[in-house]
């Protein structure tokens, strides 16, 4: 298991699938592979990223390696009773077509065991509302690059509130111009300075 964890952390998507298969062949159960190797590996990568010891590319290749491992596990997960940690809906704001930050958040959430619905870019407030109604997530993530598009966060939170859905979701916001004060002002639950901070918040939120 330690070897698999190391492979994921080092982004070895060429080696991870065979290692996962070997573990399953040896009788290791699906949940153990996820919880003792894949997820801890991504946690470790997230911590190194936050402390400045590694950078975005290293996170990306680790996530690719995790995905390669998950692809092997996928058919077994369905029958195993393993449930995702929680569900999240994530998108960039209306008018905003920058999604590196949003994709990093998705990567971090998936790495922690979340099921994530990616709404994509340039997402209207009503599309967030519809996605919450359809997917019933506990977490909603919003991302914006520009001052002109971060104002759509307020409108989107208002739309969620108007639809009577605000109480069932925890809303986290992030992006270059966003800060803690702005998040508080618009009624978000959390501002994350990076994707790992978002993952930590979401993980705690679904366990409350």
């Amino acid at each position: 298991m330690e070897e698999l964890k190391k492979m994921v952390a080092e982004g070895r998507d060429d080696l991870v699938p065979d290692k996962v298969r070997a573990l399953l062949d040896q009788g290791t159960d699906v949940e153990a592979v996820m919880k003792q190797a894949l997820i801890p590996a991504m946690d470790q990568v997230g911590e190194l990223f936050q402390s400045g010891e590694i950078f975005l590319p290293e996170m990306l290749v680790a996530a690719q390696a995790m995905k390669a491992g998950m692809a092997v596990l996928e058919p077994f997960i369905k029958g195993s009773g393993v449930k995702p940690l929680g569900r999240a809906v994530v998108g960039t704001m209306q008018g905003d077509m920058h999604d590196i930050g949003k994709n990093l958040v998705i990567m971090s959430l998936e790495g922690a065991g979340f099921e994530v619905v990616d709404l994509g870019m340039d997402v209207a407030p009503e599309a967030f509302v519809a996605a919450i109604q359809t997917h019933q997530p506990r977490i909603v993530g919003m991302s914006a690059l520009l001052s002109s598009t971060m104002t759509a966060m307020k409108k989107t939170i208002q739309a969620i509130d108007d639809a009577g859905l605000r109480g069932q979701v925890k809303i986290m916001v992030g992006g270059a111009p966003v800060n803690r004060e702005f998040a508080k002002e618009i009624g978000a639950d959390f501002y994350g300075k990076d994707s790992v901070a978002g993952k930590v918040f979401a993980t705690e939120a679904v366990q409350i």
Binding site: F55, P57, L60, M97, S148, A152, N179
Partner: protein
Amino acid sequence: MKIPEPFKKGADFEALRKVLMRETTGGPVPIIELMVDGDPMAQVTGLPTPISSMMELLDFVEADGTVSPESLEKGMQLMDLSLAFARDVGYDYVTTIPVVPIPRTRLSTSEATGGQVKRAWQNEHHGLIPDREAFEAFPWPSTDAIDLITLDYLAPQIPEGSKIMLFYFGIFEDLRALMGFEQMAVKSIREPQLLGDILEKLTVLAEATVDRAAAHPAVGAIFYADDMGFNTSTMLSPKWFRQWLIPCLKRIADACHRHGKPFLLHSCGQIDALMEDLIETVGIDGIHSFEDNIEPVESVYQRYHDRISVLGGVDVNLLSQGTEDQVRARCRQILDVCGPGGGFAIGSGNSVTNYCKIENYYAMLDETKKWNREHGF
């Protein structure tokens, strides 16, 4: 709303140059911008603009590297607008760009704030060079294809005492545009030499452009724009930048310095880990781009102003979302710290975007004028 009165009458690039090169601590704090979008320039001058935001300029070069007659016409209109804008506000320079016909992916456009603000966006996922094969087949333009028509067009028209500031879109920006950001990030680990080879091609073009532009007598300085950071760190590791990008930037800066012109760097994001390399190895003369979320301009000024000039600093977020009073108060805070020691020019933290409030832009200019007057200038 047209500008009520200019920041100052007449241009004096020599005075600005002395500030950029830290040759004086006396004199008024000048104003500087890397870029002003078409919409605010149109508001200031009352003239029409062919484009809303400056990112649209990248679409002037077609996917095959050519420039259409329509884009050329728009380019001419834009230069006339830039000229009128610089004159009306009282800048010491007029900004333009070179034509470097590198094929790029088309931009996407979006509308925000109820359709009032249009922005153009680079594709972050797919580029024209995903792999080695595409690199080999790519129609790299030769240095002969670089066109400095913009300099020749503007040079006879700039106001007396003014110079041209040449904006160059950086090689790391182009690397990301050509590969797509995610592809580039992953390949920086899996296939670093491919990035190195693309950078080499781009450096040859940048070096030649800057060398020829800086040799032009009407050019006062090169404003080289290359975003290298996010809010919290550099986009790739500092080690990668030191190995692959810094040597290229040094060649480009050297091409500028050969002609005795200031080389100013614009880079967004938290790039403090690279500052020693940028100052000592590359030899930048000034640094631009500040966001209060990352680090306020004052603390950067205090750390580096004895080695390079510090430029801009008024957060775009404030210029777009704040009130006039807030903008005036923030300008005064910045000026009180950065003004007296020299080596500082004020302006937006990034650029005057089409979503900045024009009254806030005017407030920034007016408060600086007042501050200068109060300090005897």
